[in-house]
């Protein structure tokens, strides 16, 4: 569907380096990375809004690199809706149709129904909530029947309740067969919406893959940090044993190539308890140094006797019933399968 081949963009202060990607038809593809990583530039390059320093963009098998944006049949929705303030909702939605050879009125009505915009048609954009404005922007983009919908952090500026609604709408649009490419900096959003994900940082593609596999097994430190893998330990590997710089020995689920590597353990995979877990493998005693609230969960940070700093993510209820407190001595344990070699 979309194929990027060695795509390079050279802005004065930023470069997107030789990036290659393949997005399948009907896929909900996510592009993630920290702020300033080049996600929006990549999206704009697909849309033809940035001139390329090198490489090729193909959409539906057609090389669109030399084509201007209006001939690529892609639609772009930004985080800040960019609705026309002097037009009401209906005129905003129909704006792009004036350029269409055969405007499809039935399609517009379907979109209005799908995005529940009927009661808002006569209203001015400034009287709408953030979520409503974003739905109008979506309808306006889809009204021109694009083959790909590009979304630049469309949920970031919304209240949590509107965000949930819009996620459902996006999923619904995707189920209808539309290929969606969405930029986000929130991995939670990626997990709930995306099929596959590309992680970018500093203009370089770090990893592409199935959302869950990138989440569980990030390719390098940069991706690991981005997906929230907080326990990262440089270690020397020999077979299924990994010895950290502090001298602690961790057992791996399966043997890895020997050498100096980085180990990663997700904080959700770490169990904190007052008693020794029974299995002596990957169990470390230490003192809880801090407990940080993170929404419905807490992050318990522990420093082991061997000097390792282990972070565990614990549900609020589990933390309250377990009675974990700062300064107390506890055991942190995790299964060998939770130890990923990056």
């Amino acid at each position: 569907m979309i194929e990027l081949e060695n795509l390079s963009v050279n802005l004065r202060t930023f470069r997107l380096e030789s990036l290659s990607l393949r997005i399948a038809p009907g896929e909900f593809f996510m592009i993630v990375g920290p702020s300033g990583a080049g996600k929006t530039i990549l999206l704009e390059s697909i849309a033809g809004l940035r001139s390329l320093a090198g490489g090729r963009v193909s959409i539906r098998g057609l090389d669109v690199t030399p084509l201007p944006p209006e001939r690529r049949n892609v639609a772009l929705v930004y985080q800040e809706y960019a609705l026309f303030p002097h037009m009401n909702v209906e005129r905003n939605i129909r704006w792009g149709l004036r350029f269409a050879a055969l405007p499809d009125d039935a399609h517009v009505h379907r979109l209005i129904d799908l995005l529940k915009l009927k009661p808002l048609l006569g209203r001015s954009p400034e009287t709408l909530s953030g979520g409503e404005q974003q739905r109008v922007a979506l309808a306006r983009a889809l009204a021109v029947k694009p083959s790909v919908l590009l979304l630049d952090e469309p949920l970031s500026a919304l209240d949590p309740s509107f965000r949930e609604d819009l996620r459902d709408y996006l999923a619904e649009i995707n189920r209808g067969g539309m290929t969606l490419v969405m930029v986000s900096h929130d991995f939670g959003e990626v997990l709930s919406l995306g099929n596959r994900v590309a992680v970018i940082s500093d203009g370089v593609l770090q990893q592409v893959g199935d959302v869950r596999s990138v989440f569980r097994a990030p390719a390098n430190r940069s991706v690991a940090e981005f997906v929230g893998m907080k326990n990262l330990f440089p270690a020397s590997i020999r077979g299924t044993d990994a010895v950290t710089e502090g001298g602690a020995t961790l057992l791996l689920g399966k043997a890895a190539a020997s050498g100096e590597r980085l180990l990663g353990i997700r904080p959700e995979d770490v169990v904190i308890g007052a008693e020794h877990p029974g299995d002596s493998r990957n169990a470390f005693q230490g003192k809880v140094v801090s407990i940080v609230p993170r929404g419905m969960a807490f992050e318990v940070i522990m420093r082991t006797d061997g000097g390792m700093r282990i972070t565990a993510r614990v549900l609020s209820s589990a933390l309250l019933s377990g009675g974990v407190a700062v300064g107390g001595e506890y055991w942190a344990s995790f299964s060998p399968d939770s130890v990923h070699v990056l």
Partner: protein
């Protein structure tokens, strides 16, 4: 009644203190008398006053028409497109923003006087001749502010328009339309500059009664002659003109936003 008699008849409370306070009283009386006579000149339909107003409206209308006709497209091009020498051109336009009116008057005079290259058109001491000078004053304002309005437009808006299929003229008009409030402001600022200037009108119009005498040149002349009240009448009319214009702009903006 002579001015001194009126001052004596005044009820100014400061007078009892004597000395400087008495002088202050005379000034206040003089000012209030000027305002009273000024308003009476306006409402009695004094032909000289209204002729100056008519010339001002005709002149500013003509110069603004030419300014907006050339200034908005050129300002748009200056803000929208990238071309070699753009920053130098911006610098030149910005410099012309503060050009003294008498300097413009001097140069245009040289061009349209009998010995100048445009002498054959006999534009000196005519409203079109004055309009040339005022256009030169107003054009940099409209150019610079329109260019800034276009430059400050959100690039994402242009990108959105492009992906929705807009191109060419439609893209230009849509971008202009989104910056219309700033462009309107540019027009009002330029209008303020042309209606308030004296140098160009005096040098190129010659301040000829019934023909090229504008509100500002009339104020200068009448004040010089000691006809303070006529000056005030004209000043009040100029302020009213400015108020009506700004009210109209704010009304249009409110309507546009509604």
């Amino acid at each position: 009644m002579e001015r001194g008699d009126k001052a004596a008849a005044s009820t100014c409370l400061l007078r009892a203190r004597g000395g400087d306070a008495t002088k202050g009283c005379i000034f206040l009386d003089y000012l209030s008398e000027g305002f009273l006579q000024g308003f009476s000149l306006i409402f009695s339909g004094n032909e000289e006053v209204w002729s100056a107003v008519a010339v001002t409206l005709k002149l500013s209308g003509l110069s603004m028409l030419v300014t907006l006709l050339f200034g908005i497209p050129a300002g748009f091009a200056l803000g929208y497109f990238t071309f070699p020498g753009k920053s130098l051109l911006r610098l030149l336009v910005d410099t012309l923003l503060s050009i003294p009116t008498v300097v413009v008057g001097l140069f245009v005079y040289a061009f349209i006087s009998n010995r100048g290259p445009l002498g054959q058109f006999e534009l000196l001491f005519t409203i079109p001749g004055m309009a040339i000078g005022q256009t030169i004053l107003a054009l940099p304002i409209v150019l610079a502010l329109t260019a800034s309005a276009v430059e400050s437009a959100d690039s994402r808006l242009r990108f959105t328009l492009l992906t929705l299929g807009a191109r060419g003229r439609r893209l230009l008009f849509s971008t202009l339309w989104e910056g219309r409030h700033q462009i309107l402001l540019a027009a009002v600022t330029a209008y303020g500059r042309v209606t308030a200037e004296v140098g160009v009108s005096m040098m190129l119009g010659g301040n000829i009664k019934w023909h090229t005498r504008t509100v500002t040149t009339a104020i200068t002349l009448e004040t010089g002659k000691g006809e303070f009240s006529t000056g005030i009448a004209l000043g009040v009319l100029l302020l009213c003109l400015s108020f009506v214009l700004n009210w109209a702009v704010s009304f249009l903006r409110r309507r546009g936003a509604a």
